[in-house]
Amino acid sequence: MDIFEGLMGGFATCLTPYNIWMAFLGCLLGTLVGILPGLGPSATMAILLPITFGMDATPAMIMMCAVYYGAMYGGSTTSILVNVPGESSSVITAIEGHQLAKQGKAGTALGLSAIGSFIAGILGTMGLVAAAVPLAEFSLQFGPAEFFSLIIMGMLTIIFVGGKSIPKSLMSAVIGLGLGCVGTDIVEGKDRFTYGIAELLDGIDFVVLVMGTFGIAEVLVSAEEFMKVEPIRVKFRELFPSLRDLLQCKWAILRGTLIGFIVGILPGAGPTIASFVTYGVEKSISKHPEKFGAGALEGLAGPESSNNAAVSGAMVPMFALGIPGSGATAVLLGALILYGLKPGPMLFVENADFVWAVMASMFLGNIILIIMNLPMVPLFASLLRISYALIYPAILIVCIIGAFAISSGLFDVGLMMAFGVAGYFMKRADIPPAPMLLALLLGPMMERALYQALNLSHGSMLVFVTRPISATLLAISLIMSLAVGFKAVKRARQMVQDDDAN
């Protein structure tokens, strides 16, 4: 696989007027929806996913990737101007960016955020291209046993790293595995958990779950109170940071990009961890750590670059292995399946044109975003003045239309609403929905890999530990589990000791 040749072919495909239009539309819609307070990139993609129904896979995926970038950018704008982060990866942006905005530097903060995101997006995409191809080539050696072990490792990492409570993340994942059991099983062709409902024979549609738990549930949480948003005003001429500001932040942007990309590749780590790690690094090496939390330019530029580079990093395992690295990439992976493609290493072999076109479109998407968003920020910011009371009914209607479009029936609409209710209470109880979503996607893949591996080994479980790659992946999973287990035991013992001391 020649990377340069592949990428040039990708540019040739993505630079057609229609695909450029899709990238532009994705950036615009992603920014418009992502800017709404309380809606993160996962929810934005979930809400906008139905727009791509019926499209060819390449323009549809180009649009969804652009939506992702656009939503990240829109979320930063809201964090800086309103101090409402759409999701956890924008928390640092809200802390530092809003402080800067309050000091009258909203334009500088938005400009730095856009330029940092652009640099990180371009460098991150280069990293994605460079890392995904060798990884995909390496993973061509994977058999069912390796895939089973890889899925186990991916799921465990996502559970251990994401969410506040590991037992709750695990519960969410196990429920997702259970949901993945619904439908016709692959071994004997028997119907499981369908209860005679024909709509369930193909299993629970991923879109139904994602729109319910991310779309409807997020809207319900936001609609709990009358939301009155007072964004800080920003003028066009204030939007470009001075050369001095840029030079001051250049290393923070580059460090953020590197950290973000590496952290993003790790399954489950994603943009949130990346932005926090970068913030910690920037604060620790800064000559003025006291400025952090009160509007430090490096404290904004570093994490903002980092969370954008992590987006590209998270796409490495998604494209190369078919394993999503975060909740948002799980939505993208689900979209990929929806468009009729089979994720995994064979994607680079069977659908090389598609993969290269999508990767090339990420360069295009980043360029469109910076050209579109810098001058249009005041216009986007004015959207924040539209009452949320008028916006959320529209989002709910779009979700309903999206669920209806799956099978042209109301069953999926009802199921989506039920997941919306469940997702709402899960959010209230701090149970993260992302592991459930990932498990719904990965569960059937894991079951198939287990079936195939044991079939080939005539039922011998040793196949998972005698094959070197599989054994290594399982060993990593075991070490991770033990580390988390030891940490929990240590904490419990500390609590007992504290109790005794009191």
């Binding site: 709750k168 695990l170 028997k190 209607i397 239309i401 109301l410 609403m417 079936y451 005539h458």
Partner: protein, 153 residues
């Protein structure tokens, strides 16, 4: 959060029992490979362990600030969310009877009028606008085939 954890612990135990009982309807193993009952069985077992731990932990741990948080929002927020829930599920019943545009009109107008305290005129105006735009895009142009009500639209 303690109360929420207990509720979810009990729900988890119920779900685990359901998965376990369902798994018994299928073969656990075939000759060499897991049967259709394998996965639901283990989902049930692991869920039971996790739910029991969640429940046990609520009795073991000292109350924290997080524990003071309720799974339910304030009464006012609960009313708002409950109303939206009802309106959403109402769509399932009303759409086959009244058709897509009238359902959208009612959904938007009722939310704005009852929940957001908009005037009747504004609520009706926005309701008509939303219904017209969505009908035009999704039914007229995209021909999505929404249920038609007694008026034939």
């Amino acid at each position: 959060m303690r109360k929420a954890d207990r509720i979810f612990g009990v729900i988890g135990l119920g779900l685990s029992l359901w998965f376990y009982l369902e798994s018994r309807k299928f073969h656990y193993m075939t000759d060499f490979t897991p049967g259709p009952g394998f996965m639901p069985f283990w989902v049930g077992v692991i869920l039971a362990i996790l739910s029991s731990y969640l429940l046990y932990d609520t009795f073991r741990r000292d109350p924290s600030e997080e524990d003071a948080k309720s799974v339910l929002p304030s009464r006012h927020s609960l009313y708002r969310v409950g109303f939206i829930f009802l309106m959403l599920f109402g769509i399932l019943v009303i759409m086959p009877l009244l058709g897509f545009p009238i359902t959208v009109f009612l959904f938007v107008a009722l939310i704005l009028l009852s929940l957001e305290r908009y005037s009747i005129l504004k609520s009706i105006g926005y309701g008509i606008a939303y219904a017209a735009v969505t009908w035009l895009i999704f039914e007229y142009f995209m021909q999505m085939g929404f249920p038609k009500g007694f008026l034939g639209i």
